[in-house]
């Protein structure tokens, strides 16, 4: 069903992006209000569309015929079903809150108009991503959010490190995009269409040759690893913390980085063509999640802890994807959006309150000076730790449960190992999050100046998200999986599992919290002992598994070298050199032959006579 509201959902933030810059240049105060209003309006449209969704009904809207010509049909069409609805609600809902928060956070920055313009542009791109009806349209959003991410990470561009971080994010995403393009090429040639509603039909999927199906699945996953920061492409996400904190909350925690999970869910038919693909996804996710969790333990920058935690949680979502529990993965996307946005924004308030200090070693005791922020951060910490009845508990529990129900032949004999690994990661998560909470809010203040609580415009949205982190899981838990059964395959899970189940399910989180509490508050001496014993582990963890160095050595350095070699040798010496050499040879031959012309009349006369004699000899009949 065509519906103009759908177009407005995307267009309003787009217009907001232009207006907030143009009008914001005249009056910077307006920019944030305009941008926030635009996203809120978009949210209202999404809600009204969502309310109108009944049964299997969907909405669509064609913006342009785009790549349709001859007999190729690839219109720029957006499409609204239950899956898009969930994503849109998160994007615009959490997005509005973060916009509101940004008004306070960026109040003293002179380039506010630019900031809010980018932020609105991001929302528009993200909406195109989740609303696209065909893969190329999704790709528009996919690249659009990448661009906005690049622009916003490098928002304070006068610092070359920040600008480089933006470039790194863009380039690593581009590597993933190769997979996206390859998958589109394969699917187009096998299925004759890139429409997502067509691509998930079994009879269409049957047309894909099996080896191509494998490549397409892996290619799509490669795309997802780029955007959703999984191995081997995750190192850009921690660097992306160079951007302003609201950006980290919106793009690098709540929305953009979950695009990979959304893509997997949308294309689940392709992902499951070859059973090896989900298995690869699962192992990659497990490795990523574990590595990121271990790194997070030793980080001192509050945003870095959250960044690695995001990577780890994204890995958790991919675990669910790997076992085919897509709606569970999306459930974690939603709850993660609540508590991680809340964590980032609280961290932003802390950074704001501590005069742009990000190092937790120079914080501490902030519970007194920032009670509201402390409350929100605490609630969200409990949520991410997976303590019942906080939001994170339900989604994490569902993931752990779905891991037990895997049917993949490649995973069959590893069921316990995977479950054990996931539980260990959950313990780890609770540990490092509690550590960050303790270092930031408990103890005594170790920094300079006087920390102060953030203004209302910042604390209000944080508190809203904190409330969502507390009750979000409980509320959504009941209907979520059945709601998504239309666009996604059903999952076998029974919500939460009663009071006893909840208590048992919270055990890993409680262990982590207790361990952190014990080590950082009760007996710090033991902590130092452990650090001494595990010094190798600490080196590896604080060195971030040396992934940047390894990538630099294995990928970047060879390409740099290749670039220089190709430029100096193949280009300058061989290609251009050959051209110049041919020119040089002709010139040398010319120099030699022109010696014939001496400028002396006598030589010319001699040549003339000789030639005349030769001609006479040739043409006169000799008797």
């Amino acid at each position: 069903m065509e519906d103009t509201r759908l177009a407005l959902v995307v267009l309003v933030p787009l217009v907001g992006a232009i207006l907030s810059y143009v009008l914001g240049r005249a009056a910077p105060r307006i920019a944030g209000i305009l941008a926030t209003a635009a996203v809120a309006t978009s949210f209202c449209f999404v809600v009204s569309l969502w309310q109108a969704l009944e049964g299997g009904q969907t909405f669509s809207f064609t913006l342009s015929s785009w790549l349709s010509f001859s007999n190729i049909k690839l219109p720029l069409e957006i499409y609204f079903d239950k899956l898009s609805a969930v994503m849109c609600l998160v994007v615009t809902g959490v997005g509005s809150l973060i916009h509101l928060y940004s008004i306070g956070y960026m109040a003293h920055d002179e380039s506010r108009p630019r900031f809010f313009s980018y932020l609105n542009l991001f929302i528009a791109s993200m909406l195109i991503l989740v609303l696209g009806k065909s893969l190329p349209v999704i790709f528009i959003g996919w690249e659009g959010v990448g661009l906005c991410s690049y622009l916003l990470i490098g928002f304070w561009y006068t610092n070359p490190d920040f600008a480089s971080a933006g470039r790194k994010a863009f380039v690593m995403n581009r590597i993933g995009d190769l997979g996206f393009i390859v998958a589109m090429a394969i699917l187009y040639h096998s299925c004759g269409s890139l429409d997502i509603t067509v691509l998930n039909r079994p009879e269409v999927l049957a047309r894909i040759p099996s080896e191509m199906g494998f490549i397409a699945g892996i290619a799509l996953f490669l795309a997802a690893t780029g955007k959703s920061a999984q191995l081997p492409l995750f190192t850009w996400l921690p660097d992306a913390m160079a951007g302003p904190t609201p950006v980290s909350a919106l793009i690098h925690a709540a929305t953009m980085v979950t695009a990979g999970i959304y893509l997997m869910a949308r294309m689940f038919g392709v992902i499951e063509l070859a059973p090896l693909v989900p298995a690869i996804i699962l192992w990659t996710a497990l490795a990523t999640s574990a590595i990121a969790a271990i790194i997070a333990i030793s980080q001192n920058d509050i945003k870095k802890v959250l960044a690695y935690s995001t990577v780890s949680q994204l890995g958790f979502m991919f675990l669910a994807v790997g076992v085919g529990a897509y709606s569970v993965a999306l459930f974690h996307v939603v709850t993660h959006a609540f508590f991680k946005a809340c964590l980032f924004m609280s961290a932003g308030s802390v950074i704001h309150g501590c005069h742009h200090e990000q190092d937790m070693r120079r914080m501490g005791g902030l519970a007194k000076s920032m009670p509201l922020t402390c409350l929100s951060y605490g609630a969200a910490t409990l949520a991410i730790a997976g303590i019942a009845p906080f939001a994170g508990y339900f989604s994490k529990h569902a993931i752990l449960e779905s891991l037990a129900h895997a049917h993949n032949p490649y995973l069959h004999s590893y069921g316990e190992l995977i479950g054990l690994g996931a539980t260990a990661i959950a313990i780890c998560t609770a540990f490092y999050m509690t550590r960050s909470f303790i270092l930031t809010f408990l103890g005594s203040y170790r920094g300079e100046g006087h920390p102060h609580e953030a203004p209302m415009v910042m604390t209000a949205p944080v508190l809203v998200l904190a409330v969502l982190s507390v009750v979000g899981g409980l509320v959504l838990n009941h209907g979520f999986f059945t709601y998504l059964q239309g666009p996604l395959p059903p999952v076998a899970t029974h919500s939460g599992g009663g009071i006893l189940g909840s208590v048992l399910g919270s055990v890993p989180g409680l262990i982590g919290i207790a361990a952190a509490y014990a080590l950082f508050i009760v007996t710090p001496a033991v902590k130092d002992q452990i650090r001494k014993v595990l010094w190798v582990g600490e080196k590896v963890s604080s060195g971030k598994f040396f992934l940047d160095e390894i990538l630099g050595l294995l990928v970047i350095a060879p390409f740099r070298g290749l670039s220089v070699v190709v430029s100096r040798v193949l280009d300058q010496s061989v290609s251009i050199g050959t051209g110049n050499a041919i020119g040089g040879i002709s010139r040398a031959v010319g120099e030699l032959t022109c010696r014939v012309t001496t400028g002396q009349v006598s030589t010319y006369v001699l040549w003339m006579f000789a030639s005349a004699a030769f001609l006479l000899y040739c043409f006169l009949p000799v008797r």
């Binding site: 022109c594 012309t597 001496t598 400028g599 002396q600 009349v601 006598s602 006369v605 001699l606 006579f609």
Partner: protein
Amino acid sequence: MDPITSYLGIACLLFTIGGIGLCLRRNAIVLFMCVEMMLNAVNLAFVAFSKIHGNLDGQVAVFFVMVIAAAESAIGLAIILSVFRSVASIETTDAAELKW
């Protein structure tokens, strides 16, 4: 000896002397005279052949040659003069600039 043959012989001789002079001498005026000598050798041959064939075609050709020779000497001397003005010499070796 047949008088015609001796005429042609002298023409050949003159032509050869002129040609050799052209190759060996450096003085532009002398070169010029050599060219004139070669032209006159040709004239002599023309007249001789005219006599052999008994018509006036050769004689007519001689007039053309003479006219052209006159025109040529007019232009040639002018060139020699202007060369002399620029390099202060009429030796052809001194005016060997006109090459690549």
